[in-house]
């Protein structure tokens, strides 16, 4: 897989995760519906991602240069990087909360997290050493 395609794929996945978290956060705030306490960690992380998104937006808007995509990533690089890392660890938090909520044994969580980590590792390896498809 080409590196450009890999970055494009990351952008799509990250955009999807960010979109869903935004929707959840907005609906949760506007409706005030109580959430299941088993998923507290997940909802806290969603709140973190939204906070970082607001921080990045504020930094971009505060800049005086005409903001292109590249400028924006440089100006707000730290919150954007934290947002990307949080988005990926969000998947792991959801897995942890879901396994706890369903009362499944810990070894299932270990297997799930290991599989996810291996998939992530292989995808990174494929970006640099894989075939060009």
């Amino acid at each position: 897989m080409k590196l450009q395609y890999y970055l494009f794929a990351l952008l799509i996945v990250g955009g999807f995760i960010l979109g869903t978290t935004t929707l959840i956060n907005d609906l949760q705030n506007s409706t005030g519906i109580p959430v299941n306490t088993s998923y507290n960690a997940t909802y806290n992380k969603i709140g973190d991602v939204m906070g970082l998104s607001a921080e990045a937006t504020a930094q971009m808007q505060g800049s005086e240069v005409e903001t292109t995509m590249q400028d924006a990533l440089q100006i707000a690089s730290f919150p954007v990087l934290k947002m990307v890392l949080n988005s990926f660890s969000l998947v792991q938090t959801i897995m942890t909360d879901a396994v706890g909520d369903m009362g499944l044994p810990e070894w299932i969580l270990s297997i799930l997290l290991t599989l996810f980590s291996i998939a992530l590792l292989f995808s990174i390896i494929s970006a640099f050493f894989g075939r060009d498809t």
Partner: protein
Amino acid sequence: MPINYTMPTNVSSLTSLGDYVNGVTDQVFGIGILVVIMVLFFTSLNRVYGLRTSLGSSSVLLAIMSILWRFTGMISDRVMFFCIMVGVGAILYLLFTKE
């Protein structure tokens, strides 16, 4: 005499339909109707455009709709997060496999 059920207006029409059916059938068949709609959506796209298109479209729609369903009180957090993970998984599958 018409039955006095209120239709929610601040969510999508598909969610409103499920919510309405839920109200009419005493909180039983709402989610069933929505599942049937998703299955029909998937199969009709699958017939016309093929597996990959239908898989991507319906799983992303399912993930987004599940959030709306959860906040209209039709499904639990557990089901919502499961649907979101299905959406993420389907996107990853489509991106990292050859057509």
